[in-house]
Subunit: 197 residues, 2 copies
């Protein structure tokens, strides 16, 4: 009914995170209506990202240069390395503007269920990166989920004899968080890690 | 921090209906991660729509052929014409599979607030289309909003002396609708239009 081109566009749009068939239809219609100001620029932007963006061979970040702009930035502290699950976590860390070291993107988490073992996570790559002794501290910033914490634990074990300081993000009450809406695990963790006032 | 190409992509994605800056970021990351299977096909699909899809000169529908596949389909009844606000409404009508006539897309609704008058709605185009006497009935399917109903009223007036039957979609309880959640206007309309059982 809408022609094969629009049909194909809707089908691809419905595979984007957060978009179902209905919202994909709405987005497709909006794009056709805004052909000059949105559809064509978006096609160009996608092609540009497809052509230029690559995975940094050092840390696993996405950037148009390799090594990425973070790895290439001499103002970033080379002695502190933050280990994250994926580029989304790296972006989240960068938005805070607080971390001045460099990153290591695992590209996943250990998962017995999904059959993801240590070799799938580029841990040999991490080991190679740490071999020159330049990194003094590894900050584990994997998510506070079972798989995230299992992965963090595995990496901590793996670095136990390396002489490198291993730290991890603190657990606690999120800033702005109401106790009523927090799960028991978070409250227990915040209580255990309480600080003098 | 993410490079100008990804930045530009996020900015365009955030202009899509239903996507804010956060979901645009999530979608952009997903696209970069699925470069071969999603990003490049989507760029191609958008370019294909941009190149092939045009506005039907007869009815205002979007299609890769002009006149569109509905206007060109000889099995569609040429004597009944459904007037809709936009192509989204046309798609919604077509999904029902119940309407066998043809369409006229207004491309908007009368709106004093937005300064949209009769001349902006292609009503001269509608008049020209009706001039040959082939259309026996015009079904007004504009939305059940103030602007939609004002537009329907205007078109009905405009066709009053033409000898063409003018009808409109019925108001009433939506199928599957609970009375508790319906507004008073809908319930009143459904009561006024009650039918013998």
């Amino acid at each position: 009914m809408v022609g094969p081109e629009i049909e194909r566009l809707m089908q691809l749009l419905s595979r984007l995170p957060g978009l179902g068939p209905r919202s994909a239809r709405r987005v497709a219609l909006h794009l056709v209506e805004k052909r000059e100001t949105l559809l064509l620029p978006l096609a160009t932007a996608l092609a540009a990202v497809g052509e230029t963006v690559k995975t940094c061979a050092v840390c696993g970040n996405f950037d148009s240069i390799d090594p990425c702009s973070i790895c290439a930035d001499s103002r970033r502290d080379p002695s502190i390395l933050c280990v994250v699950e994926g580029v989304g976590s790296l972006w989240a860390m960068e938005r805070t503007g607080v971390f001045s070291g460099r990153y290591h993107v695992l590209g996943g988490l250990l998962s017995a269920l999904d059959g993801i073992g240590p070799d799938d996570l580029g841990l040999p790559r991490l080991k190679a990166r740490l071999a020159d002794g330049a990194v003094r501290e590894v900050v584990l910033a994997t998510p506070a989920t079972v798989e995230g914490q299992t992965t963090a634990h595995y990496i901590a074990e793996f670095l136990a004899t390396s002489g490198i300081i291993v730290s991890a993000l603190a657990h606690g009450v999120p800033v702005g968080g109401e106790l009523d809406y927090l799960d028991d695990g978070t409250i227990s963790a915040a209580l255990r890690a309480r600080r003098s006032y």
